[in-house]
């Protein structure tokens, strides 16, 4: 038993996609301009029968299929999302029951805009380090809401990733983590409201960039590392441009971020965003490679992680569940009318 780390992981992305062009056409905007300004071409859309609970269950089952552990050994489940199907009643209990981990386990739902999933990983790490549990299941998943016609509509997507955290059979060790948190109202959704509101350009410099840069720099200082020490870097992806810009500001190269940059093809999966990026990196990573992961959640905060892939990844049965690229390529295009029906923009009873 060595360091705490990732024992297994699984991802899920709903099959439906809508092109940014179709959304732009609906609102009389120019698709080319929007694709260029956001760096996003299409986004994933959940079916009427999919929500954060179903996505979480699928991702968790994929993680378990690869892990080969008894689900009863999972001592805690934390599901991070800003689109939990219930305002009161946990998503985590549904997941726990669906993977056969109940009843001897801790469960709580987390919410911190797009970074609740990485907060879930940190909680699991602490519980494992203190010996309270053997394995913890941390999930980040969302079916992100966006008001019709709002700028967010081009990117708000659905998907999630699940990580089994533990000390036994670790495929990637978590060397350290650091969080940077302030009270910054850049994006929010009030109680009882269906769609979030945001501060437009205010979501940039004082919010996304400040928190990611500080969390990442402080983590590297703590670990004594430099950008070139990492083979991969994954940053939260609200669009295709911000992660590229923040990577450049921090001194990371395109080669380091390209494997985990999924937003151009699936949109912003909110709590799933940086974690799906990490899953995509683990799909291709080799023993000894080092990964930097920094999430961002509006409101605002960033969790940064320093991760090293172990030799165990070579015998890790990835083929027992779909890889992120397989999930991205498994797609069915829908138009705005079907999108409106699926996202409950049309009203019918």
């Amino acid at each position: 038993m060595g360091k705490v780390g990732i024992v297994s992981y699984g991802a899920f992305i709903p099959i439906h996609r809508i092109k940014v062009d179709d959304i732009a056409k609906t609102w009389g905007r120019d698709g080319e301009t929007i694709k260029k300004s956001l760096g996003v071409y299409e986004k994933s859309v959940p079916s009427l029968d999919e929500d954060t609970a179903t996505i979480s269950v699928e991702a968790a089952r994929h993680a378990l299929a690869r892990a080969g552990i008894n689900p009863k050994e999972i001592g805690a489940i934390y599901v991070g999302s800003e689109s939990h199907p219930y305002a009161v009643k946990p998503t985590g209990t549904i997941v726990g029951e669906a993977i056969g981990a109940t009843p001897s386990l801790m469960v709580a739902d987390y919410e911190f805009a797009c970074k609740a999933g990485t907060a879930a990983i940190q909680s699991c790490m602490a519980l494992i380090e203190t010996g309270m549990i053997k394995y913890g299941l941390a999930i980040g998943a969302d079916t992100a809401q966006a008001a019709p016609g709002d700028a967010l509509e081009y990117t708000a997507a659905a998907g999630g990733a699940a990580f089994i955290i533990g000390k036994d059979g670790v495929i990637a060790e978590i060397n350290g983590t650091y969080s940077f948190t302030t009270d910054t109202p850049d994006f929010w959704r009030r109680e009882g409201r269906k769609y979030p509101a945001h501060g437009g350009r205010f979501t940039g410099s004082p919010a996304y960039f400040r928190h990611i840069i500080n969390a990442t720099k402080c983590l590297m200082e703590k670990m004594g590392t430099k950008p070139e020490d990492y083979d991969y870097a994954v940053f939260h992806q609200p669009n295709g441009k911000f992660p590229r810009a923040v990577a450049k500001m921090l001194g990371f190269k395109e080669d380091q971020i390209k494997h985990g940059l999924l937003c151009p093809f699936i949109g912003n999966t909110y709590s799933g965003s940086s974690l799906l990026g990490l899953a995509a990196v683990l799909d291709v990573a080799k023993p000894g490679e080092r990964i930097l992961l920094t999430s961002y959640g509006s409101g605002a905060g960033s969790d940064s992680f320093d991760i090293t892939v172990t030799d165990a990844i070579e015998s890790f049965p990835k083929e027992k569940a779909p890889t992120v690229s397989q999930l991205i390529n498994r797609k069915n295009y829908i138009d705005y009318a079907i999108y409106a029906k699926y996202r409950d923009i049309l009203y019918w009873e």
């Binding site: 079916s47 179903t54 029951e97 669906a98 291709v284 990835k318 779909p322 029906k341 019918w348």
Partner: protein, 142 residues
């Protein structure tokens, strides 16, 4: 306020989430939904029925496309409902999802997925359970 079906759905969670059936330890027949007594072994099976988790993999025996759905499923039409024979030999009726309706066919391999089934309106409980989708191969092409 709503909740008429909550207790019934709650009782069925093991079946709906994880396809938990029962096996008669006398004749080894598997039942889904669960049975208290084996209809073949009758009193001999009392106390000898054990829970068994079904694989969730099977083949479409027959199917139909629903164009005029019940109220709770209006937004999903047209959709397929199939009789699926699982590897263990039991047959279940289920919606088929994530499948182009032109591609669906008898004999197609399917696997269980976890979806919303219905809810008790906007204020009521949400009920989850199995639906089936075409089997995906996960061989790494890299």
């Amino acid at each position: 306020m709503g909740g008429e079906a909550v207790s019934r759905f709650w009782r069925e969670i093991p079946q709906r989430y994880n396809l938990i059936g029962t096996k008669c330890k006398v004749c080894n027949r598997i039942y889904f939904p669960q049975r208290e007594v084996c209809p073949f072994c009758r009193r001999k099976s009392i106390g000898k029925m054990e829970e068994v988790k079904l694989s969730g993999r099977g083949k479409i025996v027959t199917y139909t496309i629903i164009h005029v759905p019940p109220k709770k499923f209006e937004g999903q039409a047209p959709y397929a409902v199939a009789v699926v024979e699982l590897e263990e030999g039991v047959r279940v009726t289920s919606q088929i999802v994530d499948c182009n309706l032109d591609k669906i066919k008898i004999g197609m391999e399917v696997e269980a997925t976890f979806r919303r089934i219905q809810d008790d309106g906007w204020t009521g409980a949400i009920y989850y359970g199995y639906k089936f989708r075409p089997v995906e191969k996960h061989e790494d092409k890299k």
